[in-house]
Symmetry: C2
Subunit: 433 residues, 2 copies
């Protein structure tokens, strides 16, 4: 059992002062206003529930600051991304994953949904240990101290009706049965769990969508949906349906389903997602960087859908930047301020993401996992902000302490694992991109 | 004379390794590749020219993290901003300015254009020392160690054909003659100089625009232009001309002129700005926050106009965020990546801003003022980035050293003035907002 004492904390949608948080076995057992006790772990500033990174491709981190020289589109960027994918093996993937997950924890992310499709050797043959790449991700999360939902991805086709490109071969298990067999052979520790993903309606033939969903009812199921207009055009040409309509007709949507991006949705798509109690995971820093466009966040909220947030390509790893992005892009689009309330944005960044990733957490209450983030309110960025709006001022650099599963992972701005910049430099240098 | 040695530096649009920079009297006297000398000031990572903050209202910093609770528009935000303006006197303004300018230096800004209109007592009467508020800004810049262009602002009307609101009275000198007299009575040190501003075509009657410009030919002249559609509508209704057309007809445009924002411009406006060799100062973090919209940056560039960048309301003080904002908002708008080259973005953030503010600087070459910024390439954010694109990865938190006028102001991430967060907290708390 550990007792944490927070100078201030967000509890039940409000900022309270002097909050005692008791933890047992990684789960919060009580949250109450109370004086600082002698043996409590003291958390100064403002304590928030840990942030959920609802959508990550960890290896894209290796491309940060490297893809801006030549113009291009989402599709030319994808070629560079495939080159990075080709450079990884289980050892280098583990090293990179450890560094990237450590960067996430340092930034205040306490759980990550890793949308993982680097399953096999570059040619497509399994490794000697068929789960070698999955094991690398699971081990990295454990070492870096982040909670993990491994969104093990089904990827069978190169496009609607197209064979796999040679660089996509390692993404494919060849069949749903082989995907399920490999996926269910992965061993998880207490801070990690199994989830599933359909890469997209491009990469999984329409006739297989329903079976993939049926075999994933007991866990979180994610899919990329309508990130780019071309993806919609292709689905409509092939199936006479938008990607969301196709997923709905295949019984993929539902409370365990998360549509990632949802940038280019029709009104009907929005209603289908809301009515099925699906989550939509926006990735604002990536959607800017990849020129995807501004998704219909307010229309989704108003239809009753749940929004979460992710860092996706990890060009930026900063949960505050993502939640501000959700709001700021809406402001650019609408000409109105305050489209979401501060508390709605915090919930998208925390509890909605925990739900989407299959964990009871992202809030400070008994029964939730004990994942906490302390933010200083006296840095050059946060000084002067009201605590109940401080996440409009803060950045990842203002995170001082991070607790995952009741254990301190970051203290005074330092990850207990060591120098995260050095870990990242070594892991990326090794890839010789 | 000081010799700086940079591990890497951006010189003439390229990243060079091992660069010797010699300074005399605050001006660069030579830049050449060369070995590290025993008595050189060592700057590790990547050395960039100092960043220019082309447009600041320093006192808006007091509103950071306080204006997001109630929805609203630019115009309701303006009411909150006027309340902050009303709270300031020369002492509290100096204290706040010192802290905000120190925050800017810490973030890598080495020059600021302060668009200053808090001239008089709240009722509109001059202070006993008529330049008390200007003196406060000049002294604060000197203490914080930032180069300053005081854009002393002409503000005469509450709107097109409207009298001043009571909360606007302190902004007004009552006449152009009184504005010039006060403006020219301000005493500047070596790191500060006089500039001028026409607040907007709302706040200065059209018949007076030409005289204001004529009296400001010898210095930088700035104006807010077309930040909001309502501003255009008002000008067209009153004058049958857009704000830019009105400024052009009044001979305000020209090489010493900077149009701030330029968010809602017509094709003709764009051509007028480009043909007159005016600068357009975008403020992406503010234009998001205030729901202004996305300005026509690429159209301006393609017409031959010069773009600079500013932090405006200082909701964010991070030059990297502004330059990324310029590019990312364009990507959102166009569906294309790489709209500006990395070097074009760096120039908008440095040399274009120096030019707009009347200084020969923002580049590493003999004759330029010696304002330098060193950025670490081994932080959790920058690790792995290519040096020639590192400003896509860095944030203000990655700035290690800042030199202004040849003098070290920030070393190893610490402002020599002390704890900037504490300075900000004290200055903002004093205002009792």
């Amino acid at each position: 059992m550990t007792v944490f004492w927070a100078e201030r904390a967000v509890v039940g949608g409000q900022v309270l002062a002097s909050v005692r948080i008791e933890e047992h076995g990684g789960v919060i057992t009580s949250v109450e206003e109370g004086d600082r006790e002698a043996d409590a772990v003291v958390l100064l500033g403002l304590v928030l529930p840990g942030f959920a990174n609802g959508h990550s491709h960890l290896f894209h981190r290796a491309l940060r600051g490297r893809t801006h020289g030549g113009g291009g589109t989402f599709w030319t960027w994808r070629e560079e991304m495939y080159r990075a994918a080709a450079a990884l093996d289980p050892d280098s993937y583990r090293e990179l994953a450890t560094a990237v997950f450590a960067e996430m924890v340092l930034a205040g992310y306490t759980v990550v949904g890793e949308f993982h499709y680097l399953h096999h050797q570059p040619g497509g043959s399994p490794y000697a240990t068929p789960t070698a790449m999955e094991d690398a991700v699971v081990e990295a999360a454990s070492v870096a101290g982040i909670r993990l939902t491994l969104l093990d991805t089904l990827y069978l086709a190169g496009g609607t009706g197209s064979a796999l490109l040679s660089e996509q071969r390692r993404f494919s298990d060849g069949s749903i049965a082989a995907w399920v067999a490999r996926r269910d052979a992965v061993v998880f520790g207490p801070l990690a769990r199994s989830g599933a993903a359909i890469h997209s309606v491009r990469a999984v033939p329409a006739v297989l969508l329903q079976e993939a969903a049926t075999l994933s009812r007991d866990r979180p199921l994610h899919a990329h949906v309508s990130e780019q207009p071309a993806e919609n055009d292709e689905a409509i040409a092939a199936h006479g349906a938008t990607p969301t309509e196709l997923l709905a007709a295949s019984h993929v949507l539902g409370p365990n389903f998360t549509a990632v991006h949802g940038t280019h949705l029709t009104e009907r798509d929005i209603q289908l997602l809301a009515d099925s109690h699906s989550t939509i995971c926006f990735c604002p820093s990536t959607e800017r960087d990849l020129a995807d466009g501004i998704g219909p966040a307010i229309a989704l909220r108003d239809a009753g859908a749940t929004l979460s947030l992710g860092s996706d390509q990890n060009a930026i790893v900063d949960p505050f930047e993502e939640l501000r992005g959700l709001e700021m892009d809406e402001r650019l689009d609408s000409g109105q301020r305050g489209r979401f309330t501060p508390m709605e944005l915090l919930e998208a960044a925390t509890s909605a993401g925990y739900h989407s990733l299959g964990w009871d957490g992202g809030c400070l209450q008994a029964g939730a996992v004990c994942d906490l983030v302390a933010v200083s309110l006296s840095t050059p960025r946060t000084a002067g902000a009201r605590p109940e709006q401080a996440w409009f001022a803060a950045t990842a650099s203002d995170v001082t302490d991070v607790i995952v599963g009741g254990e301190v992972r970051v203290r005074d701005g330092h990850h207990l694992l060591g120098d995260v910049g050095a870990l990242l430099s070594a892991a990326i240098e090794r890839l010789n991109l």
